[in-house]
């Protein structure tokens, strides 16, 4: 139930700056997901919002009030930790009551709040158990319950699903989505390295890289209009193929002659001055389709195939350096290994990058 504003926020440990120029405006009711490779500072940023790490520079505001020096407990936030961080010596009820007891609420009020939340999270039968007598999924629910009981303005999640097995992770992810649905006015900030969690949960995703924000946008915006090669390759699995080439003709559509021999027509307008520009053509594996046309985007010998049933992944040998070109074809394709396949793509689904930055965002 709050707006968060980060203005030129930075974090440094001594001489080492791990985060700089973080500008972010999080509106009430949003579920913001921080993603990025490990070590990008996403957890640090979350801990700075929580107040567990000092903010080295810039301002952090909740509802217009500067929070830099406000103690964590008075920021109106609740956090769910990756390791659950339940108090091992307290029962589930005591775990969930602890914050309210410290806040000197009445016993009846605490009891009512805990019972209500336990009902929502189906924890009622376990209220008198110690955390060690619960399964991983139940512990995670207690941790979430402990946050809800406090009725915070902002929920923070630090990789809450990382310690769960695959099946439980999917189930809990859906529970969190439903929880968000039930609390439309709560603001949530969620850190993960799992892009599926990011794509499915987020109202907006913040991609962090190299100590700063690479791009902020809705999941589909990041997928369809990545600002840089980094975001393009980080979102989507397998990651986007990049093929080096030169702009051969400009206009409302751009013709790119690829170093590997192919040509590609891209639905991105370019100006006269861009003729001869060195670019990387970006194409997602799922956008590559087999073609018989003479001017294929890519032609190569299939080195490995991975049949997943719903899709088949083709890995191509590549003449020049760089990661193998991957194509994702729907359905089952057998006997393609060692054969040469010609691939084309819809011009509207191609991306152009010059020096790492998308030409769309110039």
């Amino acid at each position: 139930m709050a707006d968060l504003l980060l203005r030129d926020v930075s974090k440094s440990y001594g001489q080492v700056t791990v985060l700089r120029d973080i500008n972010l405006d999080i509106r009430r009711g949003e579920l913001i997901v921080f993603v990025g490779p490990s070590g990008c500072g996403k957890s640090t940023l979350l801990r700075m919002i929580a107040g567990l790490e000092r903010i080295s520079g810039g301002d952090f505001l909740i509802d217009g009030v500067r929070m830099n020096d406000v103690p964590p407990a008075q920021r109106g936030i609740a956090m769910v930790f990756q390791s659950y961080a339940l108090y091992p010596h307290m029962t589930v009820r005591d775990n969930m009551s602890f914050a309210l007891k410290l806040a000197k609420r009445s016993d009846a009020e605490i009891r009512a709040a805990v019972d209500r939340v336990a009902q929502i999270l189906q924890l009622t039968p376990y209220l008198d158990r110690l955390p060690k007598a619960l399964s991983g999924g139940q512990r995670q629910r207690v941790a979430i319950g402990r946050a809800i009981v406090r009725d915070p303005k902002v929920y923070l999640f630090d990789e809450p699903l990382s310690n769960l097995d695959a099946a439980l992770r999917v189930a809990t992810r859906i529970e969190i989505a439903q929880l968000k649905e039930a609390m439309p006015h709560s603001t949530m900030v969620y850190v993960t390295h799992d892009q599926v969690e990011a794509m499915t949960l987020a109202s907006r995703i913040v991609v962090l890289a190299g100590g700063g924000i690479a791009q902020v946008g809705s999941p589909l915006e990041l997928y369809q209009r990545p600002r840089s090669e980094f975001v393009a390759q980080f979102i989507g699995s397998p990651s986007m193929n990049l093929l080096a080439g030169t702009v051969a003709s400009t206009g409302p559509q751009t013709l790119v002659r690829l170093d590997g021999g192919g040509v590609a027509r891209v639905a991105i307008p370019t100006a006269e001055a861009d003729l001869g520009l060195r670019v990387n053509l970006g194409v997602r594996p799922e956008d590559l389709v087999p073609t018989d046309a003479p001017d294929a985007l890519f032609a190569g010998e299939v080195e490995i195939t991975e049949a997943l049933g719903e899709v088949t992944l083709l890995y191509f040998r590549r003449q020049d350096q760089g990661a193998a070109v991957v194509a994702k074809l729907p359905g089952i394709h057998q006997g393609l290994r060692r054969s040469t396949v010609r691939l084309g793509a819809d011009p509207a689904r191609l991306h152009l990058f010059h020096q790492g930055q998308s030409l769309l965002w110039r």
Partner: protein, 334 residues
């Protein structure tokens, strides 16, 4: 012969003897008694493996029998007999009755009880405090070494140091005892003979043991505190707990098992306390404790019966705590 040479020879013979025993007895078992060959090879290997643990335990069992089991039985027997012109005759509980009739025995019991309450409590409390505080400061490791150092000093050595602290010189002279120096500086009228003021002198003796044991408590509790998951502390901070609440409601409950082990371990040391009292007051001025009382009776008054009875009382007091301590320590290890 040079004593150093003697020591060297003793060490060589002792260690060599131990190694030799294990190696040779193992060899005899495998090669001579039950060789792993011939038609009975399988059966022989099984039998050798059944005997081997006993073979290796044998020296320890002998040592325990001679130095622990036999003295316990002999002391129990002595406590039930009286001296009758060189021979021993059965006396029933007469020795115990005589002991109970002595005010000095009850004084020892009372003092031991006081030691039992004060020393483990203060040692554990100071240890816990030191463990928590030294973890939070830059020179914490140095502070830790200093606090732990008394552990390396023998009880008698510590007593000598503390006797100097409690030392009193006639009024008018410079006081070399720091307690009297402070007392006079703070406005005291005359130097006090601290070790001769009943009741308080017992507390002054206890200070010595607290000084020694707090280091032990600190080291164990510091390790336990560090093993507490950091996230539980962070969660408590977010829940609004202040540092005191975090310490008493989050940290201490999580290391309760370790605290109990430390507490009972110190309790056992306390019940056996002897050297400090012997070296500082020798039980005078109402500071007597059971172990020193036993020593007094047994080796100074040569009242073997009452001395043994006192020893049995100490054992009866220590045993239940020891059992509890071992159980707790085992549970901690799981």
């Amino acid at each position: 012969m040079n004593p150093a040479l003697q020591a060297l020879i003793t060490i060589t013979v002792g260690v060599g003897g131990c190694v030799g025993y294990f190696w040779l007895s193992n060899l005899v078992l495998d090669r001579v008694l039950f060789p792993a060959r011939g038609p009975q090879a399988g059966r022989n290997i099984t039998r050798a493996n059944m005997i081997r643990p006993w073979l290796f335990l044998f020296p320890a069992l002998v040592a325990l029998a001679v130095y622990l089991a036999y003295p316990v039985v002999a002391t129990a027997w002595l406590s039930l007999h009286r001296d009758a012109g060189g021979a021993r005759e059965f006396a029933g509980l007469d020795n115990y009755a005589r002991m109970m009739a002595e005010p000095k025995f009850w004084e020892s019991m009372r003092n031991n009880l006081l030691w039992l309450v004060v020393v483990p409590a203060l040692s554990t409390a100071f240890g816990l405090l030191a463990a928590q505080l030294t973890d939070r400061i830059g020179w914490g490791n140095l502070a830790k070494s200093l606090i732990f150092m008394p552990m390396a000093i023998s009880f008698v050595g510590a007593s000598v140091i503390w006797k100097l602290i409690y030392d009193a010189r006639p009024a008018g002279q410079d006081q070399i005892g720091i307690l009297n120096a402070l007392y006079l500086w703070a406005g005291g009228d005359a130097p006090q003979q601290w070790l001769q003021i009943p009741f308080w002198n017992s507390l002054f003796l206890m200070a010595v043991l607290v000084w020694i044991q707090a280091g032990f408590a600190m080291v164990i509790l510091s390790a336990a505190l560090r093993a507490i998951p950091e996230e539980t502390v962070e969660a408590a901070i977010l829940d609004g707990a202040n540092p005191l609440q975090i310490f008493f409601r989050i940290k201490v409950p999580q290391i309760r098992g370790t605290i109990v082990v430390v507490w009972t371990t110190i309790t056992i040391t306390v019940l056996k306390v002897f050297d400090i009292v012997l070296a500082m007051t020798n039980g005078q001025w109402e500071t007597q404790v059971l172990a020193n009382y036993m020593y007094d009776k047994f080796f100074r008054a040569f009242d073997v019966g009452v001395g043994s009875a006192a020893a049995m009382v100490i054992m009866a007091l220590v045993t239940p705590i020891l059992v509890w301590n071992v159980r707790n320590a085992r549970r901690e290890m799981q």
